[in-house]
């Protein structure tokens, strides 16, 4: 009896002991990071060039093992926003942008000891050109006529037509076209080869992974000095593990237990809990709103192929019916960074766009038919800060510049009287509080939101719907859930909360999203729209701006002037109603690591599923040896 009891006690002790003893990876050398793609269904698949590999890339694969010519940081960068990575210098175009030459960095090696050369680049390009179905096959096929390597460190791309932004294919914003190891892929079918184990061009190589896809551990290469990241010093973490930590509550608990060093994103409530309860946790801002503003701009997207949104006055009326302060509170509990213009208020953009255009915005006028108003209120960011100060105290900054960068500058002040005048100017009539269209039918709007997949934006949409209802519009909120993307791309919506503006963040060039807004690419109603002009808006004035941007070089200051023209046109036409940056509550635990990027030291993006988060590795240092 005693023996049985002893056995039971020992078994229980083993079950409840806090840690397994055979951990090969010491915790104090291991940076544990959330993989927001969750548990990977097909963890054996490291072929990042295939669509299936796309799901697996934030497992550390594209952050730590891949490399390409250039990186643009969404914030300020370790040495400026532009980094020549595998390329030794920026792209060299000929006069008419039909040829791009790339000089490659020498002395860079794959993790299996083979040197990286121009042959790898040519192989990558030619593989994509002759293989349908790789993630970037079409991008190569549309652009590249031929590619050649005059010497081992020079590659020349001959293009099918002028393209001053061809280099963006090889420029990491979130990801880009990664270079393939010719010596590994040669002779294999690039669509069915799983690339396991991956041969790395980054400073880390695969150490181990969960056959069920919950975690992936990468180890610093012994020869890390033969990778491009070495220009900035030795990476701090010996190991980096990307894990699926579970739902938001579980992530908060994991970080409070110091089991998760970097949370990719968590709910506003989770962020506030960590700020209050976990002294070792830090975020991008040291106070409210904590979150890192991504260079992405959630907005109210009108489907311009619907008759009811053709009139600019109606769009403006709907904009003036919105109280952005209430939207900020509903969506992010106030932790939003608002933007009145169609450029995200993040990275260097406030310096290039929001601040220089603030005077123009303040003087911008709208004729409602009964009065001329100046709708811009430059103090709304400060008003949101003031609203939060009583409850958040010292967490709310008082410096106006800090408030502007944290909460955004101004927005369009809610003006229901002017909104009603604009509706009447557009031929709408009001009976009681209900608006009727010029054809006599009730003005109804179906507003589509993503649902559980993006709760913050869903809350924003629900609040806007409520405000429009109060204004007299019959609004129905459609929770599209998993069908959101199919419906948005197919034009099966009237109004959606989504984004069609994504920028480089650190670099002022707007072509990253704007080129796709040209009217040449607007699909007919009923057909699928290609990214990113989901609103299907077209305008000759916009086409002219886009065509002019195509003719100027990437770094030409004229590009910023054209960007300003774009912003002004958007404000006048209001084809989408910009709301705020996509704020990501990335939370970092300083128990084991220090040196994380923050708003005070914005050397890179902390959001760990971005490929350029690799730059974080060279600044992180262990706190416990």
């Amino acid at each position: 009896m005693l023996g049985r009891l002893t056995l039971a006690v020992l078994a229980s002790a083993a079950l409840f002991s806090a840690a397994a003893s055979a951990q090969e990876v010491p915790r104090n050398q291991n940076l544990i990071v959330e993989n927001p793609n969750g548990t990977i269904a097909n963890p054996d698949w490291f072929n990042i060039w295939t669509p299936a590999g796309n799901l697996n890339q934030p497992t550390g694969l594209h952050q730590l093992a891949m490399d390409t010519f250039w990186y643009i940081d969404p914030d300020y960068g370790l040495d400026g926003v532009w980094d020549n990575s595998l390329a030794a210098e920026p792209p060299i175009y000929n006069d008419d942008f039909t040829q791009m030459t790339v000089r490659l960095r020498e002395g860079i090696y794959w993790s299996d000891g083979v040197e990286f050369t121009a042959d790898d680049v040519v192989f990558t390009a030619e593989t994509h050109m002759k293989t349908d179905g790789l993630v970037r096959s079409a991008a190569f096929q549309v652009n590249v006529e031929s590619v050649e390597a005059p010497d081992p460190y020079t590659v020349v791309f001959n293009l099918k037509r002028p393209n001053s932004r061809f280099h963006s294919l090889f420029t990491v914003r979130w990801n880009a076209a990664w270079i393939m190891p010719k010596h590994v892929f040669e002779g294999k079918d690039p669509l069915t080869f799983n690339f396991n184990p991956p041969v790395s061009l980054g400073a880390y190589t695969l150490h181990s992974y969960d056959p069920n896809g919950q975690w992936f551990t990468w180890e610093k290469r012994d020869d890390w000095e033969r990778t491009t990241l070495a220009r900035f010093g030795e990476p701090g973490p010996q190991y980096v593990t990307y894990v699926d930590p579970g739902p938001p509550d579980r992530r908060v608990i994991a970080q409070m237990n110091h089991e998760l060093d970097i949370i990719h994103d968590v709910s506003p409530e989770g962020m506030f809990t960590l700020a209050r309860e976990a002294p070792s946790s830090i975020a991008w801002f040291d106070g409210f709103p904590y979150a890192h503003p991504d260079p992405t701009l959630p907005a109210v997207l009108f489907n311009h192929q619907h008759e009811k949104f053709q009139n600019r006055d109606v769009r403006w009326a709907l904009a003036l019916a919105i109280d952005i302060k209430a939207v900020a509170m509903a969506s992010y509990r106030g932790a939003a960074t608002i933007s009145a213009i169609q450029v995200p208020p993040t990275g260097t953009h406030p310096d290039y766009y929001h601040i220089p255009l603030s005077e123009w915005l303040s003087e911008f006028e709208i004729d409602t038919g009964q009065q001329v108003i100046r709708p811009y209120d430059p103090t709304i960011g400060e008003q949101i800060a003031d609203m939060l100060r009583p409850s958040m105290g010292d967490a709310i900054p008082s410096d106006p510049d800090k408030i502007m960068r944290a909460f955004g500058a101004g927005w369009w002040k809610q003006d229901l009287e002017a909104a009603a005048q604009l509706m009447e100017k557009a031929g709408f009539t009001r009976r009681g509080n209900d608006w009727y269209m010029p054809n006599g039918e009730r003005f109804t709007i179906r507003l589509m939101v993503e649902g559980d997949g993006r709760p913050v934006m869903t809350r924003a949409g629900t609040m806007i719907a409520q405000q429009w209802r109060d204004f007299g519009v019959d609004v129905t909120v459609e929770n599209a859930q998993a069908a959101f993307f199919t419906r948005r791309n197919g034009g099966d919506f009237e109004v959606a909360i989504s984004w069609s503006v994504e920028t480089w963040g650190g670099h002022p060039d707007l072509s990253f999203f704007l080129d796709s807004w040209h009217s040449d690419f607007v699909a007919p109603a009923g057909e699928v729209q290609s990214p990113r002009n989901w609103q299907r808006w077209s305008s000759p004035e916009l086409d002219k701006i886009i065509e002019q941007i195509r003719e100027v070089e990437f770094d030409d200051p004229k590009g910023i002037e054209l960007g300003h023209e774009f912003v002004k046109l958007m404000v006048e036409e209001m084809p989408t109603i910009p709301l705020m940056a996509y704020n990501v509550f990335t939370v970092m635990d300083t128990t084991y690591w220090t040196g994380y990027p923050t708003a005070d030291d914005p050397y890179t993006n902390p959001v760990p599923n971005w490929a350029n988060s690799r730059y974080m590795m060279v600044r992180l240092r262990p706190t416990q040896q």
């Binding site: 806090a18 055979a22 951990q23 896809g213 919950q214 990214p531």
Partner: protein, 334 residues
């Protein structure tokens, strides 16, 4: 014996019909859903990266050809049946070209291991306690157990999961709250790994068992309450048969038949996975796989998981149907 043979054949025909209708319905529901796997994939690939519209248009055509989603629906339907009959679910669309069967094969052991164990534990303890509570109705300890079990029963199991997560993950962090086993622990049939698997299953299992007990408990208690009023139980008591013999052999045995049916159906249903529990605890089972497949519009994978579930539940019902007359002579063969 001949009538039993006809009975089995009839039930088998019903089984085939249910499987046929179930799979056909699932096929058409998934394929008529507004979620297009190609658009989901394109949305994922272009969400934060390239967006050259001309290239994306070309990519769309290439993916439609690769996935074979462009053909007529009825043609795809017959192709799918051809695959099922040759035990092949085809490739997963979101993990192309990896076969659906490989993805299911990875997740299935975890789901079976967790849910089959939980179901059997709930069934055994629920029925045992329910039988005792129904027979010894005045026993205070059993009454208290009944109150506790019934207290847990109406609580959704994901609420229990979150409560356990907070208690054992945050307030008193003695148990792992995520994954199927410790990270970086070499997988194998060794004590360290198995203990790790066991430790990781405690909280997900507890959240399922705590809620599951109540159903079996209530059912068995009610059944026993009826059985003890039967004449043969009364005669046995009057005849001096010991209560320790009456309870298992006269009462529980006769009350058990509907519970066995329930167990078979519950075991069949485990092939859907315990979606929320798996999600809360990042447990690598079929439930998580199914959810990710739904979001990706990967109807190949959705169909694979649901086909297994349909066949499992139908087979369980079929087996029960044909075993009923053997176990319970009161069941008459029409």
């Amino acid at each position: 014996m001949r009538s039993y043979g006809i009975y089995v054949l009839t039930r088998f025909a019903q089984f085939l019909l249910v499987v046929f209708i179930g799979i056909s319905l699932t096929f058409f529901i998934t394929h008529l859903s507004p979620i297009d796997p190609v658009e989901q994939m394109i949305a994922g690939m272009t969400a934060m990266g390239q967006s050259d519209p001309e290239a994306v248009s070309l990519m769309r055509t290439a993916l439609q050809e690769l996935y074979g989603t462009g053909g007529p629906l009825i043609e795809q339907y017959f192709t799918y049946w051809g695959r099922i009959l040759s035990a092949d679910f085809g490739p997963s669309l979101s993990s192309f070209p990896t076969p659906v069967s490989v993805l299911i094969g990875r997740a299935l052991p975890w789901t079976i291991g967790l849910l089959a164990t939980c179901t059997v534990i709930s069934w055994v303890f629920g029925n045992l306690l329910g039988g005792l509570a129904g027979y010894f109705r005045e026993n205070r300890m059993l009454k208290l157990a009944g109150v506790i079990i019934m207290g847990f029963h109406p609580v959704p199991y994901y609420i229990i999961a979150f409560v356990l997560l907070i208690i054992f993950g945050l307030m008193w962090p003695i148990l792992p709250t995520s994954g199927g086993a410790a990270a970086n622990l070499p997988r194998g049939w060794n004590a360290e790994y198995l203990i790790s698997v066991l430790r990781h299953s405690i909280l997900p299992a507890a959240s399922i068992i705590l809620v599951g007990l109540g159903g079996w408990f209530m059912g068995m208690r009610a059944l026993v309450s009826n059985v003890i009023t039967e004449d043969y139980v009364t005669y046995a008591e009057l005849g001096g048969v010991k209560r320790s013999r009456i309870l298992p052999f006269y009462v529980i045995r006769n009350a058990l038949v509907p519970q066995v049916t329930g167990l078979a159906m519950s075991l069949g249903a485990i092939f859907n996975g315990a979606i929320i529990v798996e999600f809360v605890f990042s447990y690598p089972g079929l439930g998580r796989l199914l959810i990710s497949a739904v979001y990706a519009g990967d109807y190949g994978l959705v169909l694979g998981v649901t086909t297994i579930s349909i066949v499992a539940v139908s087979a369980a019902v079929f087996l029960i149907d044909i075993l009923y007359p053997v176990f319970d002579p009161r069941v008459k063969l029409a």
